[in-house]
């Protein structure tokens, strides 16, 4: 598995929502499968769902279409994987969250806060020398914000993997095999 940085193959990106049984080692199985078969993961986020026994992974994969089919099929072979849906970027909400600690001399402070406002970001920590900004948005939004903050001096930053949901009222957890686990 190669964690790839932003590259020209942006249009080869596919966002997969993967429902898995919440069991030990599931993440290792998935990461291991990607590694063994040489597939690229751009980002990976994992967390609970509304069903306690089910976790949801959002995996952004960088690959062309035929290989994507293999990725999905190989994922499906894992016994703990319940369901995989590829999200259509034009019909889903995809977001990442970022924390950026920016050097903030007194004379730059208001400028930085203004910038954060433009990106609908929040100030989550302040001290005499720095401001920490939390922003949620698309990868592109976050990159533009970071580019504008860069001249002030970025001390450190962290970014989550992409999380995504399809637009509209549909739910991928509606499938029967997932449903049967739902706590009534």
């Amino acid at each position: 598995m190669q964690l790839v940085s932003e590259g020209p193959e942006m249009n080869n990106r596919h966002t997969l929502s993967v429902l898995v049984e919440n069991k030990p080692g599931v993440l290792a199985r998935i990461a291991g499968m990607f590694s063994r078969r040489g597939y690229n993961i751009h980002s990976l986020a994992v967390g609970p769902t509304e069903v306690p026994q089910v976790s949801r992974l959002t995996i952004v994969v960088g690959t062309e279409a035929t290989r994507l089919e293999q990725v999905i099929k190989q994922l499906n072979k894992l016994v703990n994987v319940l369901k995989i849906v590829e999200l259509d970027p034009s019909d889903s909400v995809e977001l990442e969250t970022q924390l950026v600690k920016v050097t903030a001399e007194a004379e730059h402070r208001s400028q930085i806060i203004e910038l954060a406002d433009v990106f609908r970001a929040h100030i989550v920590d302040v001290d005499h020398e720095s401001i920490t900004i939390e922003a949620t948005g698309t990868a592109g939004d976050l990159e533009r914000m970071v580019a504008l903050l860069e001249p002030f001096g970025i001390r450190e930053m962290v970014r989550s993997g992409t999380i995504a949901l399809a637009r509209g009222s549909r739910s991928i957890t509606d499938g029967s095999k997932v449903r049967m686990q739902r706590v009534v």
Binding site: G25, A28, M33, R36, T66, E69, Q70, V79, K177
Partner: protein, 575 residues
């Protein structure tokens, strides 16, 4: 009824109908070996854990049932890795139970601790580290089910020692709940109809049958289907015998060392009907030039195999036995339309078979050709016997020259190419098929990797013929060095007398034979054939210069098939 975790392991195996297990005790699995004494289970004590799992594979190959092995933690479990990978590659149903250090010690680098579920994740179909004693029966039942269903494969259950010692109220789960595991068995009706319609349009159709036919026990259906539409059939290394070699429609084995007619039939075909096979590189050679004019119908129970290596025109996910049954019904309904007009094509294949036989000139005096030895072995033990090979020249020659007549008659390590497979796998096969003669046709290199298991064959009275095709070299490596490295031989010599295999037989207390000439060969085999209640070693000294042909050099187009060393040299000189 209160039972210990250890008792639960044995009760679970009994509930699953397991009669034979292959194993080796040790620290963490010790509690399970106590109730084993009373259990209605025969335990074969191997001499190395790799032997346990290959024996379980041999058992599974010959019976079609799940082979079971039990070993302890740490080094014992890591010794299973090769066999697990072998079983995964060849879709062999195996259940491996491993002891683990106490759950309180996991993660502390305790004595004989290894992260076994972590290590074996990529070489198992599934695995589980059991975390409560109550979970033991369900974990074993689920593992067994996963191993034998869908695309079969190895499943490992790792059980910490403290759980084996805890007690709980015994309960055998009625149902198992695997919401993420639902293999598709029945083929899609529309795809099945499309498939038979496509066959009807073909003029050069060929069935490309793989190990899935054996695994699905679909040999009868395959033959019926092939006969119904008069489709020629090539059988891969793992499918040899699913149609008898002497059947009019049988074309032989495709691939790197396949029969000329089988290789060419695939290359020239306009429609491949791929059944339970995976377009392995040893069959396709250079993928881009493989069967370039062929459309493809691909039937496999593993959806991931469809379209993995070769684009497919009609994909059908399902069990080979069921889907071929569907294909037969669909074809029967519209036979006049879907029976392809391919008489000329079949005639062409028959001509190729006649004009391009395997070449092997056995001189009347002079060294035994390995092919002669293998033919004589088959002539001696016949079609009832099970033949088991390792990996290399002896394996390819056996697959080529024996006229396979039924499925499960031929057991070898295909996908992983595991040297040392034959000795333990043959022992496992004999346990699974006690009424058939079992003959390991092994190479001298392979044999020396695992022959310690002969002790288990002797101790547990499992009579197996160990016939060593002894050419004093790592023959296949030598062949490549000869052909592709200008005959610069590097580390391929294994002295024919070291060890002395007749003395080795003596050391194990079993008969040992040696044949160095054609006359000796026949005498020795006649004598050996009289012995049915004892294992034996037959040391057959063969011509070390004999090479496996036909051959398609790795990664080359299959059109470049070379039928003899003379042809190879002529081509090399011409280039």
């Amino acid at each position: 009824m209160q039972v210990t975790g250890a008792q639960a392991v044995m009760k679970s195996l009994e509930a699953l109908g397991v009669h034979d297990v292959f194993g080796y005790p040790g620290g963490a699995i010790l509690p399970a070996y106590d109730p084993l004494i009373e259990a209605d289970i025969r335990h074969i004590l191997v001499r190395h854990e790799q032997g346990a799992i290959h024996a379980a594979e041999g058992y599974a190959h010959v019976t079609g049932e799940v082979g079971v092995c039990i070993v302890t933690s740490g080094p014992a479990a890591t010794n299973l890795v090769t066999g697990l990978c072998d079983a995964l590659m060849d879709s062999v149903p195996v259940l491996a139970i491993t002891g683990q250090v106490a759950s309180t010690a996991i993660g502390s680098d305790a004595f004989q601790e290894a992260d076994v579920t972590g290590i074996t994740m990529p070489v198992t179909k599934h695995n589980e580290l059991v975390t409560t004693v109550e979970r033991i029966p369900a974990a074993i039942k689920e593992a067994y089910h996963i191993a034998e269903s869908g695309r079969p494969g190895p499943v490992l259950v790792d059980i910490p020692k403290d759980l084996l010692n805890q007690t709980f109220e015994w309960a055998w789960p009625e149902h198992i709940d695997l919401p993420g595991y639902r293999p598709t068995v029945r083929g899609h009706g529309r795809m099945v109809r499309e498939a038979v319609e496509l066959i009807g349009t073909a003029s050069k159709p060929v069935i490309y049958a793989g190990g899935g036919i054996t695994r699905a026990a679909a040999s009868d259906e395959l033959i019926e289907f092939a006969e119904l539409l008069e489709l020629p059939v090539v059988t891969t290394l793992n499918a040899r015998g699913v149609i008898p070699e002497n059947h009019d429609l049988a074309v032989g084995m495709p691939g790197m060392h396949g029969h000329y007619a089988a290789v060419k039939a695939l290359q020239e075909s306009d429609l491949l009907v791929a059944l339970g096979t995976r377009f392995d590189d040893r069959v396709t050679g250079d993928l881009a030039s493989f069967a370039p004019h062929a459309k493809v119908i691909h039937v496999d129970i593993d959806p991931a195999e469809i379209g993995k290596n070769r684009a497919v025109d009609v994909p059908i996910v399902g069990d080979a036995k069921v889907v071929i049954g569907q294909l037969i019904s669909a074809a029967t309904d519209r036979l006049d339309r879907v029976k392809p007009d391919a008489a000329a094509w079949r005639e062409h294949i028959v001509t190729m078979k006649r004009e391009h036989p395997l070449r092997c000139d056995q001189p009347e005096t002079g060294p035994i050709k390995p092919q002669t030895a293998i033919r004589a072995i088959h002539a001696t033990w016949g079609d009832d016997a099970v033949y088991v090979a390792g990996v290399g020249q002896h394996q390819m020659w056996s697959s080529q020259v024996i006229p396979w007549s039924r499925p499960r008659q031929w057991i070898n390590s295909g996908g992983l190419g595991t040297m040392g497979f034959a000795v333990p796998a043959a022992i496992g096969a004999k346990v699974g098929a006690p009424d058939r003669p079992v003959v390991a046709i092994d190479g001298d290199g392979c044999f020396q990797m695992t022959f310690q298991e002969i002790a288990a064959a002797v101790q547990f009275e499992i009579p197996v013929v160990f016939a060593v095709i002894n050419n004093g070299f790592l023959g296949m490596v030598r062949q490549w060095q000869h052909l592709f490295y200008d005959d610069r031989l590097s580390e391929v010599t294994l002295p024919q007398d070291c060890p002395d295999l007749v003395k080795l037989a003596d050391a194990y207390g079993i008969p040992g034979f040696r044949a160095t000439t054609i006359e000796e060969l026949q005498n020795v085999l006649d004598k050996a054939h009289q012995i049915t209640d004892q294992s034996m070693i037959i040391d057959i000294r063969v011509d070390p210069d004999e090479m496996v042909f036909p051959m398609i050099p790795a990664g080359r187009p299959n059109d470049e098939i070379i039928e003899s060393v003379e042809e190879y040299r002529a081509r090399a000189a011409g280039e």
